[in-house]
Amino acid sequence: MQRRTKETLIKQAFLATAATSLAVLALIMIFLFMEGLPTFGFVSVQDFLFGMDWYPTDEARPDYGILPLFAASGAVTLLSSLLAIPLGVMSAVYLAEIASPKVRAVAKPVVEMLASLPSVVIGFFGMVVLAPFLQEFFDIAIGLNLFNASLMLAFMSVPTIASVSEDAIYAVPRELKEASLALGATHLETLLRVTLPAALSGIGTAVILGMSRAIGETMVVLMVAGGAAIMPDSIFGPVRPMPASIAAEMAEAPFRGHHYHALFATAMVLFLVTLFFNIMADYISHKHRQTGSASL
């Protein structure tokens, strides 16, 4: 009996620890809301979300409109996805379906190492190498801009997209592919018409997770996006996405002043956007899970 009590206690202890992640997530939300919500005491929700001007340090009449920051985040994420999605999915297909075990043993660590590069290093590279290059190559005034940031972000989300899609492609049951090959389809035809459609929900999850990573990435956009809080008007224009604004201004914002609260509110928006993306990814991967060869 005593033995059983001990086992139960141990199980309960593990359960409590497993709930830590949930507790942390809840705490993050509580603190963001606690420090962010006071913002709406001095600016209306509408002016905050749709205001066109972000001048939080103006002494006479500060403006707290995050639309330019929000639009900049959207712009860098979309532009980087244009490169990252095809590149990531194609790499995944190559790794899962085409590469020989030997090539795979080298190529997979390469993708993982790209994922492990610290974001500040990628940002630094964008600043000192890519920016001067872009300036010269496209003959533009500033190399630190939307295009540069998107390019650097793309290489940060490629590993996420590639590894999650690879798992999905790998999980497609063998029988499906064999059936297609037995009917005389080539490897490519099987890939395009059987394997990829069967893995589509996993690839969708991968794409969403990759985009969520790009939206939340801070150091790259802080260092290479240019930093101008204006609506993005050209791909070579400087912008200031939400994470960049938070990271750059937090150190100077007076503690619990209006600016401080407004930055927390911006973080709240950023958090909710990534939360939405992650829940969507989770929903898709559960709803359309490939449970067997029959469900295609």
Binding site: A19, T20, Y94, V110, S116, F124
Partner: protein
């Protein structure tokens, strides 16, 4: 690349005359060519990814190697950080990442044990999993603000090592949970069954059988976690790292300098951005050597393990 589904080879025994045979062989050639082209494109994609890694690392090595010297590694920054070395930053980064792992490892391993060994599939497990996945997706700057709000301000720890450990610890938690679960999955079920059949309880089985076999995999995961924490910048900007401090950390409440933040500061806000370029490249090189070194070690360890398990 759009190949019609109807172009599959004709059934044997169909009324294929010699003329239609040559037509099919032409079609086969086209199918083979399009497959060759498509596979070349896929190969090109992975090569582009590899090239990106090679170019970034290559540039940093090429420009940073000249800055590296005994003095650079083991001296303190001098003359408003325009001369001298990065020793305090190396110490700070090591302390931060190891401390973060000390926070994340017990919590992460215990969570993974619950999720893999105890939990039965159901709503509760779904919710915990959703929590872990969402925690993994929280932007690092949000972790930074959370650390600032909870550890630095509300708990009154100030900008300190301990605040950095806790912030980075929860940031690494999903990495540790994920890799530990993978390690637990690779332990064959027969091990568990053998222990249970001998009369071992669930806990005895986990403690004496499952964990020892999963240990190398957990080690791999914790190395990856440490390297993740070592490269993190946004999460320590408001919680642990400072622009410059003349003293080495001497208690858990000390603020520290760290490699990633040092790069950011010198590259964007230093007094002489152009003049300190060599120091910036050198610091970046030290950081990626540290991070990639740990990763290569972990990847090698994993490959060795998989070989041992005969997969």
């Amino acid at each position: 690349m759009t190949v019609q589904a109807t172009t599959i080879a004709p059934m044997p025994g169909s009324t294929a005359a010699s003329g239609s045979l040559s037509r099919t062989s032409g079609r086969d050639l086209r199918r083979k060519t399009s497959q060759w082209v498509a596979f070349m494109l896929l190969r090109g994609a992975i090569l582009l990814v590899a090239a990106a890694l090679a170019i970034i690392v290559g540039f940093l090595v090429k420009n940073g190697i000249s800055a590296i010297s005994w003095n650079f590694l083991f001296d303190v920054p001098r003359n408003y950080m325009t001369e001298g070395g990065v020793w305090p930053c190396i110490v700070g980064t090591l302390l931060l990442s190891l401390g973060a792992m000390a926070v994340a490892l017990p919590l992460g391993v215990a969570s993974a044990i619950y999720l893999h060994e105890y939990a039965k599939p159901g709503t509760f497990m779904r919710i915990i999993r959703l929590g872990v996945n969402n925690l993994a997706g929280v932007p690092s700057v949000v972790f930074g603000l959370f650390g600032l709000g909870l550890f630095v301000t509300a708990m009154g720890l100030g900008v300190s090592l301990i605040a950095g450990w806790l912030t980075l610890g929860v940031l690494c938690l999903p990495v540790v949970i994920g890799t530990t679960e993978e390690a637990l999955r690779s332990v064959p079920n027969t091990y568990r069954e053998a222990s249970l059949a001998l009369g071992g309880t669930k806990w005895q089985t986990i403690w004496r059988v499952v964990l020892p076999s999963a240990l190398p995999g957990i080690l791999t995961g914790s190395i990856l976690g440490i390297s993740r924490a070592a490269g993190e910048t946004a999460a320590i900007m408001f919680t642990a790292a400072v622009f410059y401090t003349p003293k080495m950390p001497n208690s858990i409440f000390s603020d520290v300098m760290a490699l990633p933040y040092h790069i950011y500061v010198l590259a964007t806000a230093g007094t002489e951005i152009e003049k300190t370029r060599p120091i910036q490249f050198g610091t970046a090189l030290v950081l990626i050597a540290l991070v990639l070194g740990m990763n290569i070690f972990a990847i090698g360890l994993r490959a060795w393990l998989q070989k041992r398990h005969g997969k």
